[in-house]
Amino acid sequence: METTRVAVVDDHELVGMAVAGLVADEPGLVFARHAPTVSALIGPRCDADVVLLDLSLRDGSTPAANVAALAHWGARVLFLTSAENPYLVREACRTTALGIVRKSAPREVIVDALRAAARGEHVPSTEWASALDTDPLLGAAPLTAREREVLACYASGMGAKEVAAALFVSENTVNDHLRRIRAVYQQLGRPAQTKVELYQRGIEDGFVPAPGSD
């Protein structure tokens, strides 16, 4: 089995260390290195197969720009998030990244995600599904009713097996649906926005409560 080199882009060096520790005992995965920003990670040679990318980096770069750079460099991207700002998550889902994983997820979940990403497979997670399920843009998208059901089930926390059982279809079918949903979602356009707007949207969607609420 080929070894997958895993790199981490996160503001905190400790997160890099944690991932290194996580990956140390796993066959087929090896820790490459950690960098605080994407531009610091990208060197002349591509020495990572999968990059765990923090969703909100302190250097103000956008998820889309980061994923584009990493993809161009030659690595696959998995997002890491600690606080699920739904707007940022949606923006992440619209990139070519393979999925979005919570930093606080159990270690098996993170490892499985890394292996799937190494194979180039999309990693559907509850966070991903929930972000899509609530995106108003998806209402107008060409998704079948069955696909929306699958999405909703996933967003409620079910895994592929449970969804397949609930809808009386095979797991393969469910995965096909998920792939199609992802493809459709990536076609949806929203113009690139400025950093200030990004965080303004964060306020919109509830990251910071608006005056008078709560």
Binding site: A65, S82, E84, A155, E162, G206, V208
Partner: protein, 702 residues
């Protein structure tokens, strides 16, 4: 009427427009001189030559207009007007006792009037017209050249002069108002953006703090082998920044140049650094972050791409109202145009970032010639004083025009009686046209209704048709054609441009048709209709320009209002932040301090960290689900080692009934062993909420 010496863009454009229009009219007039001279058998009066000179000055002003500055334009126009008036006076002197007929070109004052408008506004324009009219009158009296045709000619010229001057004045005023609105809007937008930026910076600061806290807690709770001292240091930092955020003092303490210099020195110890100025204490947070990030990005790029042995030079100058950062290196350079758009690098992280913050980034590089990147930011200017144009002058103008119009047309109508075929025709035509103007004037709405417009146009055209058929076809007897044109001018000024153009077109057709049918010479037909066509075209054109400017002014003002609203909202939101930070400090403080103490973390500690971390995430994402009952059950579950995720996806769902949801969910959470997801469902789903506990999903409600 107050006028600013250096007008803004819109006003300058209007002035240029007038200069060009005046030049056009002057050139056409100048072209007529040889033609009329030919008609007279190549006899050219000396006064006509002088007039050609004056017209040439006006034409020159128009030619120079597109490139001239406001000042130059006004000076040139002033000289041209002065020249024209002088020629008028000189002509008076010279032809006293010489020629018999007043050269027609002397009486055509429109070009000079418009040029006067460019030079000195409506006051000068009317002044020029007054002088011209008086001089022509004196001229004619001296020559004994007072004829009906002359009277018609002179009154028409005067009317056109003052009407065009008035419309021109309105155009200039609109231009000034548009300039003021533009400047105001720019200032308001800048203020709003900087306020938003400051809020964003603070919410970003809050986000950073959250991230730090959550990361610390996650790491602590994960049980992975992380060096204890590093974790403790991180926890201490996180706890400190939370307390700072709560206290509202989360601001960088170092002056910008020092911070930038330190960061660059860290990356490249050999770099040459010049940092000056500390006046940037008032630099907005978002600008500071953008400049810092962009400059460091430039340095990073240089380190990575410029080749070994490159020497880097940083110059940062920060004043209170402007900041300049220059990063240069003598490395291999690159071709800025050759960067593909999707690469993270110069374009996005430097140029756009600085532009979003309101600054400018200039990237200079040549392959083999080193690289220089310059970032500049200047504080947005103060909003200008509001425009204090006096509207009384304009209203007076309209009243004067009305009076002059009525008096002159009545006089001309009466004078036309002797030469008319039927004595009553001129008077009937006059009454008819006055009725038309009155019907138009009495419109209850600013823009007259279709019916009213149809009535006015129809009446005017019928009257003209009747008059044209029943009058001798001479220039003077067709005086009412130009009068009718003024009706259409009034229509145009009210915004009904198509009606005005259509009416004028039909008017033209009628007169030409009648002329052709009675076998009149083309010259007569042309002379009878020329002024009518010119004045309608001018009115329509200027009204279009004014309408455009007024629309843009309205849009800008609306935007300014929205920006003010948003700024107010932002200010209120800013206060919420402090509250949230206090809660975070409360929840996470204790466990962070325990981690910072550096001792071995027990299982209990780890579970506690996860529980607090989960609780913090819930604050952001759980929304209405996070009732005390649910929060308690979730904390207990997390303490047991369960991975709990709570999501409020209900948004603005109208049929939301939260009764009993929390008890139901809390009960389910108590049974969880491994993993639990609770979710409030979005609109359009049957159920209110769903919960997936250890692989089994149940719905609530609906």
């Amino acid at each position: 009427m107050t006028e600013t010496v250096a007008g803004g863009r819109a006003e300058l454009r209007a002035r240029r427009l007038f200069a060009i229009v005046a030049a056009l009219i002057a050139t056409i007039l100048a072209a007529f001189t040889p033609l009329t001279a030919l008609q007279r058998g190549l006899v050219v009066h000396q006064s006509e030559l002088w007039m050609l000179g004056a017209l040439a000055l006006i034409a020159l002003t128009g030619l120079a207009a597109p490139r001239a500055s406001a000042r130059t334009l006004r000076i040139m126009a002033g000289v041209a007007v002065a020249g024209w008036v002088l020629v008028q006076v000189a002509t008076l002197w010279q032809t006293a006792g010489q020629a018999v007929l007043t050269p027609w070109v002397i009486t055509a004052s429109a070009a000079a009037v418009i040029t006067g408008l460019v030079a000195g506004g409506v006051a000068l324009a009317w002044g020029v017209q007054l002088v011209a009219s008086v001089l022509v009158l004196v001229h004619r009296t001296l020559l004994g050249d007072i004829t009906f045709a002359g009277w018609v000619n002179d009154t028409q010229a005067m009317l056109i002069g003052i009407v065009v001057a008035a419309i021109g004045a309105i155009t200039l005023a609109s231009g000034r108002r548009l300039d003021a609105a533009t400047a105001e809007r720019a200032a308001a937008a800048a203020a709003a953006a900087s306020a938003r930026g400051r809020l964003a910076a603070r919410s970003r600061a809050a986000a950073v703090v959250h991230d730090d806290v959550l990361a610390t807690l996650t790491l602590a709770g994960s049980g992975l082998p992380i060096p204890r001292d590093l974790l403790a240091a991180q926890a201490a930092r996180a706890e400190g920044s939370v307390r700072e955020l709560a206290a509202g003092t989360f601001a960088p303490t170092e002056p910008f140049p020092a911070e930038l210099a330190a960061e660059v020195a860290r990356r490249d110890p050999a770099a040459r650094i010049e940092a000056a100025g500390d006046g940037a204490a008032g630099l907005p947070d978002d600008v500071r972050a953008a400049l810092l990030g962009a400059a460091l990005q430039a340095v990073d790029n240089s380190i990575r791409h410029a080749g070994p042995g490159t020497r880097r030079h940083l110059v940062v100058v920060a004043r209170a109202d402007a900041v300049t950062v220059t990063v240069t290196d003598d490395g291999v350079g690159f071709d800025p145009a050759a960067l593909p758009a999707d690469r993270l690098g110069v374009r996005v992280s430097i140029v756009e970032r600085v532009r979003d913050a309101g600054g400018v980034a200039e990237v200079d590089s040549r392959p083999g010639g080193g690289t220089s990147i310059r970032l500049t930011w200047t504080a947005p200017p103060e909003p200008p004083k509001p425009d204090t144009t006096d509207p009384r002058m304009l209203r007076l103008g309209v009243a004067v025009i009305a009076v002059v119009f009525t008096v002159t047309q009545l006089a001309v109508a009466i004078l036309a009686v002797p030469t008319a075929r039927f004595w009553w025709v001129p008077l009937a035509v006059c009454v008819g046209l006055f009725t038309a103007t009155e019907v138009l004037r009495r419109s209850p709405t600013a823009v007259p209704s279709r019916g009213r417009l149809a009535a006015v146009t129809g009446l005017t055209l019928v009257v003209v048709a009747v008059g044209a058929v029943l009058s001798p076809f001479t220039y003077a007897d067709l005086w009412f054609v130009t009068t009718a044109a003024f009706v259409f001018v009034a229509v145009a000024v009210r915004g009904c441009l198509r009606w005005a153009l259509a009416g004028a077109a039909v008017l033209l057709v009628i007169v030409v048709a009648v002329g052709v049918s009675v076998g009149a010479s083309p010259a007569t037909v042309a002379m009878s209709t020329a002024r009518a066509v010119v004045v309608v075209l001018l009115a329509v054109g200027l009204t279009r320009v004014v309408a455009g400017m007024q629309a843009r002014t309205a849009r800008l003002q609306e935007r300014a209002v929205r920006d003010e609203e948003r700024a107010a909202w932002d200010a209120a939101a800013r206060d919420e932040l402090g509250d949230r930070a206090a809660r975070v400090a409360e929840h996470a403080g204790p466990i962070l301090r325990r981690i910072a103490a550096g001792g071995e973390l027990t299982d209990v500690d780890r579970r506690a960290a996860l529980a607090v971390q989960g609780g913090l995430r819930d604050e952001l994402r759980a929304g209405r689900l996070a009732t005390p009952a649910v929060a308690e059950a979730a904390a207990c579950a997390r303490a047991r080692g369960v991975d709990v995720l709570l999501l409020d996806d209900a948004g603005d769902r109208p049929d939301l009934d939260l009764d009993g949801v929390d008890a139901w969910l809390a009960a389910l959470l108590e049974t969880a062993r491994v993993r639990a997801v609770g979710r409030l469902l979005p609109a359009g789903r049957g159920a209110t909420a769903s919960a997936t506990v250890d692989g089994e999903t149940t719905d609530f409600g609906g």
